[in-house]
Symmetry: C2
Subunit: 195 residues, 2 copies
């Protein structure tokens, strides 16, 4: 495989910025389906695919989320064309007979809630990152956020009890005037080693 | 921003496959630095950047990992040109005065081990996914794996006690003959909703 051109690396990583304010340009349901079609191809352990995504597109749906968010995140949630809730299904293993049909992977997790929770949170978070980068690959900006009451959002959007909220993320076309100055990053040897 | 061309979407998501066997082509330290330079630009909560990466390039280093891995993962670890350990620093907040200098974000986490663990695991996993997709963007194949004894790997590679292993990932150029058939994926409405 070739290295992608610098313009693509810039769009995915180097120049992309988390957005705080948004232009009015809408995000179509069709584009959300394109996004999901990319996200679901990213790798997860035993193809477990534990992430569950709720795309809030109406003001009433965004308001239901905003009431459980920190003060500083409410306007971001309400003004983004779409705000996604990234959740994960702690009973993801019930879908493994479909997703990983060549062996009994359900038995690796069923009856082991600690392993199931860790696997769902890890792989659901990987899929949350796939969402961020797939959105950028499709020309969208993102605004991921953690500042909300997870338990209250779970009751509001996932009343069944098996799905837990992970983080939330605005999707749309950002207004560059709302972007903060880039924060410092580590030097290589501060977070990596080669042995 | 434009939508990336289909060839790039294929390389990142649609045609990329987790590898089980590897060609001998080496991965240079310079390419690992390019990879880290992309990964570190991906978004994390409060720029917390909790992931810590150990790139195992020598047979002796890979052997130290392989001894703690499941039987099925040992040959993959030893044969990959590079096997990366993706860890996360549970005391990432000690670096926030550098990474998030405009406010006292350290105080949000210090003394709250439950929030620190959750934040480190979530955001360290996001960064693990950035590693997978950044590697693909640079023309590398990946082979992420979870089957190993995390506590033993922590003792072996992170004896200080504050860094925990998350998952591991082969990096290099895969041998397509070792790839499994693509497993099924969900239809949109099985993992997404629009409200």
């Amino acid at each position: 495989m070739p290295r992608l051109p610098d313009t693509a690396l810039d769009q995915l990583f180097r120049l992309a910025r988390s957005q705080n304010t948004w232009r009015a340009t809408q995000v179509t349901d069709c584009l959300l389906q394109d996004l999901a079609d990319l996200v679901k191809m990213g790798p997860t352990s035993a193809n477990s695919s534990p992430a569950r995504f709720v795309f809030l597109t109406t003001q009433s749906a965004k308001q239901r989320l905003a009431q459980h968010a920190s003060q500083g995140n409410r306007a971001k949630i309400l003004s983004a064309p779409v705000t996604a809730i990234i959740g994960y299904d702690t009973e993801f293993y019930e879908k493994l007979p479909k997703l990983f049909p060549h062996t009994d992977a359900r038995g690796w997790f069923a009856g082991n809630p600690a392993l199931s929770e860790t696997t769902a949170f890890r792989n659901g978070s990987l899929q949350g990152a796939y969402l961020i980068l797939a959105a950028r690959a499709l020309g969208l900006d993102t605004g991921p956020m953690s500042g909300f009451d997870n338990a209250a959002v779970d009751r509001e959007f996932f009343p069944g009890g098996t799905i837990k909220s992970n983080f939330i993320c605005g999707l749309g076309h950002g207004d560059p005037s709302g972007v903060f100055a880039r924060s410092p990053r580590f030097a290589f040897e501060e977070f990596c080693s080669i042995i």
